[in-house]
């Protein structure tokens, strides 16, 4: 297993980790108790996916880095997550749109990863697929309820979609790392997931009386380590305790 394998797993694992951190920001602040619990539950599942993938990436790297070393001791430029997941929580509409675009992606991604030549990765994906099915059901439900809701909720969903849509396409842009990892049958080719993703997104947006925005120039770079300024702040908060007390046990 070469470096491309580690990179390819970090691209997925880091996306899960950063989104989990974002979602936990809602804990105690969500619009209703049930939603507070739902977002925390989803964060917990997604964090579980991140832990499995980061642990496996560390094993394949063979440099002695475990999940904690990878999560807490890398700087922003070493993270390989999609730009989408580091975008701020915004209002609830932004959180819902970000979650839906992500869930619609992972719904396809896990199917592909379940066929991975790496048995550990396939096991993580097989399990994650069942959990993500509940996530996409939840976020799709909110997209429809808010999009086809009141004038105010519709307006907010339109604004969220306009803000976040330019980050939606990065997940499907292949580069040489992906091609090498696909040759090793470790991961599915990112672009191969676009068609089913679009089908689901179009269907749900139509139900929600929201237009599918035209394709912009997709914002990109997260998967190569070039991030928006938001990630550094997120990591600072996530990593501060571990960095202040390295190796501490209790």
């Amino acid at each position: 297993m070469g470096d491309h394998s580690v990179e390819a797993l970090l691209r997925v694992g880091d996306s899960c980790l950063v989104l989990a951190q974002r979602l936990t920001g809602w804990c105690g602040h969500a619009p209703a108790l049930e939603e507070d619990i739902a977002l925390a539950n989803i964060a917990l599942d997604v964090l579980g996916h991140a832990r499995g993938l980061l642990t496996r990436a560390g094993e394949l790297e063979g440099a002695g880095r475990d999940e904690d070393a990878l999560a807490y001791l890398r700087g922003a430029e070493e993270f390989r997550n999609l730009l989408l997941v580091e975008q701020p929580n915004g209002d609830f509409a932004h959180t819902v749109v970000r979650q839906f675009l992500f869930d619609a992606w992972t719904a396809e991604l896990w199917k592909g990863l379940a066929e991975s030549s790496d048995e550990v990765v396939a096991g993580i994906a097989e399990k994650a697929a069942k959990e993500s099915a509940y996530h996409v059901r939840h976020s799709s439900g909110w997209v429809v309820r808010l999009g086809d809701g009141t004038e105010e909720s519709h307006r907010r969903m339109l604004a969220a979609l306009e803000d976040l849509w330019p980050y939606a396409g990065e997940a499907f842009l292949d580069d040489e790392v992906d091609v090498a990892a696909v040759e090793a049958r470790l991961v599915p080719l990112p672009s191969s997931l676009e068609k089913p993703w679009r089908a689901r997104v179009s269907y749900v947006l139509e139900e929600a009386t929201l237009p599918v925005p035209p394709d912009p120039w997709w914002q990109r770079g997260g998967r190569q380590g070039r991030h928006s300024e938001h990630l550094s702040y997120l990591l600072a908060e996530m990593q501060v305790v571990h960095r202040a007390h390295p190796g501490v046990q209790w």
Binding site: E34, E35, I37, A38, N41, I42, A43, L44, D45, V46, L47, G48, H49, R51, G52, E119, V120, A122, G123, I124, E126, K127, A128, K130, E131, A133, Y134, R137, H138, G141
Partner: protein, 156 residues
Amino acid sequence: MTVETAWELLAEVPDPELPTVSVVDLGIARDVTVDGDAVVVTITPTYSGCPAMREIEQDVRAKLASRFASVDVRTVLSPAWTTDWITPGGREKLAGSGIAPPGARMLPLLVEGRPDRCPHCGSTETEELAGFGSTACKALWRCTSCREPFDYVKAH
């Protein structure tokens, strides 16, 4: 020491979040092998992010260490845990403590499962309040007959 001894001990290890059922009832304990006074137990998490997994591992280790000199607890993800592995006895214990056991899985419409009946009054007239509940494996439902809310272990 026999495999049966190990399974009997495991049946006394409660799930930390659903203490009315054991790790055997829930299908978390998957496999046991015994060689002399050494035991190897394989466990699997219900959900990827289950925060109770570490506690379960420690509880299993402590319980088996009471009889076995060497205890090895291994965690596997595949095959993925399913609510089909909850034993009939486990389902009865859940219902007896007011938690509806999972309904039948309806693949591929996995997420459309529903409780068979209200664990309080037995009515089949129930509705979902929230898809996510007090732990990763549960949803919050309500009985429209007796009006009581209840936890439901999601078909998975």
